[in-house]
Amino acid sequence: MSSSYERIFDIPIGPQHPALKEPAMLKLKVDGEHVVGVDLDVSYNHRGIEKAAEYRTYIQNLYLIERICGICNVAQTLTYCLAVEYLHGKEIPPRARFLRVLAEEISRINSHLLWLGVAAHEIGFDTFFMHVWLDREITLGLMEALSGNRITSSYNVIGGVRRDVTEGLLSTIRKGLDELEPRVKRYREIVLNDRSILKRTQGVGILRSADAVSTSAVGPTLRASGIKSDVRIDDPYSSHDQIPFNVITADGCDAHSRILVRLDEIMESVQICRHCISKLPAGPILQRLPRRPPQGEAMSRVEAPRGELFHYISSDGTDKPYRLKVSTPTLANLPALVRMLTSKGRYVVNIADVPVILASIDPCFSCAARVERSGGA
């Protein structure tokens, strides 16, 4: 256009709650209604958890790490415990490994249902949001029955788990899963058939398979672009190599596929929980380990609800870690998010689609900048 006016405008979205109740700033460059560029700023939340970890003992750190993210607290402590156990060179008892899987999968169902509610809210379908969050209460109840807490469970400890299960508790969990399963099936039908959901999500936030791989996307975001990659299969930990399950993928590469992948993953998690309950080995739940791990380096990763979660610990033989690095799935998905938010060729991004696209990667900016979040409880 040969006018003296600027054609490209900057529109800031955030830093107060751009989509989720968390601070992040998106500086959009728009040409009319179309987003042509985006600059992300996630610096509003940095509180230095990695630095704080260097001043605390391994046991104290367990509770610090748990507070990085309310929703993925089970995955965070699991990754940390795996790294510390590797430094000690010790295996934990089989019963504890199965219980860790059980807790992990319950928290995955919880996280995916929470996200589904948020996604429905972004679309403007608040009734769906209320229904989903009511059913999410079932998983919170199961987590409370298992660990004693609804959100911050403190279930994993270095060397095993904190609490054993009884037969009565296992049947409570089984009943909860039986109650949940038909609800999730119903939600899947709604997502597949409701016109307002289809219109707001199909063809929105496209991430092609090649881009998903090149930007190192992780978790459901990657799998919704048709890539079969899951840490539970690729780099098995706990007892995942003994538990049969399918890696869910979808090839729509859009926000709608991301909803379907997460809903199908809930169904897989229900099956994994049932398998854990029926095949739960007998034995101790804790292997006691010394307070000071030997000198060395450890790297562990876990498939958190949002994707690959990575911890690196460098130990100098004292009771405090020399360096603890946490790499969370949201940070890994940010380059992919930038691709999704940029119009290119025939793919156009409207400003009104930005909240849906942002929500579709299930972002947790507090995780990315590493600080406590409230956890939506």
Binding site: V42, Y44, A217, E297, M299, F310, R323, L331, L334
Partner: protein
């Protein structure tokens, strides 16, 4: 690719020394700063194109930069950087997944990534003083004030 094959290939690259297997699916390959970009290029050709994380560690006699690559077998490329000249080649053009991770390491440890496409501040807030890198061991956070003094 099995870990033995990966170790053999890595050992053959110039500038890589003492490749170490620390567990079933973890390999550490220390290399020199000049060889870093070449090693990453070679690894990307071999299919190690998934960036898991980039870690910076302030070891007392230098800064270690660790690049973790790979989705099943994880190779960690380890480079020692002199803190008086903290520069290294950026690999964001080879592996776009590294872009924000390099910005993070720059903000927290003060490593300059040469050739980075957008080296703006990312992880620390805009009012954070320039040239102060929180994850350096020389940076000691102030202890919080006690809520109540003992004399009261």
């Amino acid at each position: 690719m099995s870990s033995e094959e990966a170790m053999a290939t890595l050992s053959g690259i110039e500038g890589v020394r003492e490749v170490k297997k620390i567990s079933e699916r973890r390999i550490i390959a220390p290399c020199s700063r000049d060889a870093y970009r070449r090693v990453v290029e070679r690894l990307a050709e071999l299919g190690f194109n998934h960036v898991v994380a980039i870690t910076g560690v302030d070891a007392k006699d230098g800064i270690d930069l660790l690049l973790h690559l790979g989705s099943s077998l994880m190779v960690t490329v380890k480079v020692r950087i002199d803190p008086s000249d903290p520069r290294i080649a950026s690999i964001s053009d080879l592996l776009p997944g590294a872009e924000m991770r390099e910005r993070e390491v720059h903000d927290l440890l003060g490593i300059e990534f040469e050739g980075h496409p957008s080296p703006a501040r990312f992880m620390v807030s805009e009012d954070w003083p320039a040239g102060v890198f929180p994850l350096r061991k020389s940076f000691a956070p102030a202890a919080p004030e006690p809520r109540r003094s003992c004399q009261q």
